[in-house]
Symmetry: C2
DNA sequence: TCCAAAACTATAATCGCTATGGATTCAGAT
DNA sequence: ATCTGAATCCATAGCGATTATAGTTTTGGA
């Protein structure tokens, strides 16, 4: 039974305290206006403990490990309705999640804005998405009868995973997302 | 007369001494095995001077400011032979330069390998490419009668500029580059 | 020749992050 | 209930990149 010890509960609790302290302080003073020492203080742990919980460093404090995103994407591709194209499945999946839907709690909206307007956080968010490139490429390859090392497949996966960073800062992110998927589907053309 | 003082000559000389010292030491001990203090010593300047010459930090030491790249790309798009498509012009431009051509001096080849195998340097190289996104988007928009803020144009510019990082590490970079340009031109399709 | 800008310097400080070594707490076996 | 090993936590010290400060030297031009 993996998830039922007091130990794991406390661990998750500390991790959440760190996340919340970081988000609160970042929102109040800006990302660069907060030191990891302040965050550790606010969460009432030592700096060493902070880094034990968040080995990827300061930027990772307000993110999870990105495993969920990877699972969604691969599942969206593999379990899509029959007859639906891979790109269509990915388009719907991304449109529903991430920075593209508008029915978010005010806190999440606020967090998204913080990420979009803070370069270090934007870059780390991109890194998390791109960490799923291999998995997504495998899923796409498997569904389209190509080799996962096929550069076309890898490039498509990469380009899809870059969409959040590319479209996230637009005035109408959803319209931007659709424009980019249209481009990936039909290409730029010979003009 | 912009470029003819002893001052500017000495400045360029110091900058090159830093570049060469950094490249030599990185090659010998690896990027993480070298401190900026060692590089400053090797170039016989103080640490403060090093950062005065290279405000972007350690990774920027072995790169120029990327202005050249931007000029090539924009020129390639704007001055292309009549009848040639924008993407074809970009394909040829990138294939001829950067990590894609094979007639390089051994030093440049060695430098390229160092960059490809060092994450921090790879990321900074990408950053330099992407810094040209705005300029490239404007050129593409101008040549295709679209608006420079059109998301399709911006996405295309971004995707083209990501090709070096995406294809640079492949066994056959040139083939990879062509595969990606084919994808951008024709799209993935509805399959 | 003289002056202001530019380049350089040493020094000290900040900040993110890691290493060490020891104390505490927990899970599971006896 | 107790023992034991692992996990967690902590204080401390330290490293490396980067910035700030303040003073010195060099250079270009009036």
């Amino acid at each position: 039974m993996p998830t039922t010890g007091r130990r794991e509960r406390k661990k998750a609790q500390t991790r959440r305290a760190l996340s919340e302290a970081a988000l609160r302080l970042f929102s109040e003073h800006g990302y660069d206006g907060v030191t990891v020492a302040q965050i550790a203080d606010e969460a009432d742990v030592s700096i060493a403990t902070l880094f034990a919980h968040v080995p990827d460093g300061k930027e990772a404090l307000i993110f999870d490990d990105g495993a969920e995103r990877r699972v969604w994407l691969v599942a969206a591709v593999r379990d899509r309705p029959s007859g639906q194209s891979v790109l269509e499945a990915l388009r719907r999946c991304m449109a529903a999640r991430g920075p593209f839907t508008d029915d978010l709690s005010p806190e999440l909206r606020h967090k998204r804005d913080l990420i979009v307007r803070t370069p270090a956080l934007r870059e780390y968010s991109r890194k998390l998405w791109i960490a799923g490139e291999g998995a997504l490429a495998e899923a796409i390859a498997s569904e389209s009868g190509r080799d996962p090392s096929d550069m076309t497949v890898r490039a498509l996966a990469r380009y899809v995973l870059e969409i959040p960073e590319l479209a996230g800062a637009e005035p109408d992110p959803l319209a931007a997302l659709n424009a980019i998927f249209d481009l990936l589907e039909a290409g730029w053309g010979g003009g």
